[in-house]
Amino acid sequence: MGHMVSTELPPLARAESVLELADFDEVVRLYRPRIFRFLMGSLGDRDLAESLTQDCFLKAYTARHQFRGDSSLATWLTRIALNLVRDHLRNRRMRFWQKTRDTALDIVDVGEWIPDGARSPEEVCLQQERVREIWRSVEKLSRQQRTVFLLRFVEEMELSEIAETTGMNTSTVKSHLYRALRIVRERALGKSEGEL
């Protein structure tokens, strides 16, 4: 019931992070939910997100010698996932005749979550509907805006972490985040940006 998975993965120290890769099963166990969540949010397709999560860990495993520990393991894995999303979207554009969203995540599925502390059934319905509206509006964002939005408001990353993950500078991240927030707010809730 509105149960939240902890995303507070402590940044690993340099020696630890490299060492951790030796025990790859543990890496998968720790980071799989996070990577899957990001991919599901980015693509809106549960099966595709699962496939790309596998691809992400396979890629990480084969490229583990390239991980120097300069960034956290989570940042490194998210960067790989981000590249996979970009490649996938590019390929999908090239194969536009294929229907690729057969197993798209149902918006109702996201809205089925029941919020904590709701006082009445009406309030529960209202909150679920707002969540669905946000989900729909996030799907309409540009790829970069959606990435920044998800990394901030789903993965709760700091601006510097988002910048490191996406390869943008901090001010660009802020601009994307601002625009994404404005669009989501206007589309989903119909509110003016002045309230931001």
């Binding site: 939910p33 899957f36 596998q54 979550w113 707002r130 901030r152 309230e195």
Partner: protein, 157 residues
Amino acid sequence: MNKQPEFRDVLPPDEVLLEPSGQFGNDLRNFRAAVHRAAERQTSQPVPFGWLNAAKRRRRDAQRRLVLAWTCAALLCAGALPLLHHSKTAGAPSHLMSHNMQPGTDDTALLEQVDTAVSESVPSSLAPLAELDNWDATTSTNNKMPLNKPEKKHVSQ
């Protein structure tokens, strides 16, 4: 003197940008919880044995497709090369002729060569045919063309 504010100047402070307040902030937190819940349903079960096998298979298939594509491209190139070579060699003589032929002098030389060839004396073995041609020319009427005229004319030349 009123300078138009740049986009970055009008960005709200980080605190406001990172943690929107009010109803919208609350909705964003609910959205986060909902996405976490939806993802948790998928990843709550332990990772099955051979979980990465599907990814390995996909990668292998992609590599095969790539190899196949390059092979096809190489075969196409190999098939097109002889055709290209042939078209080049076929086009070369006409090109050379048109390039080398000088108007006037070369025409004259060619005409002289043709004259020499046609004015050669008739070999002895063909002499009877030449006589026959002369005889035919004297005996035939103007309206009547001999059936073997082209061959004879050719022989007389």
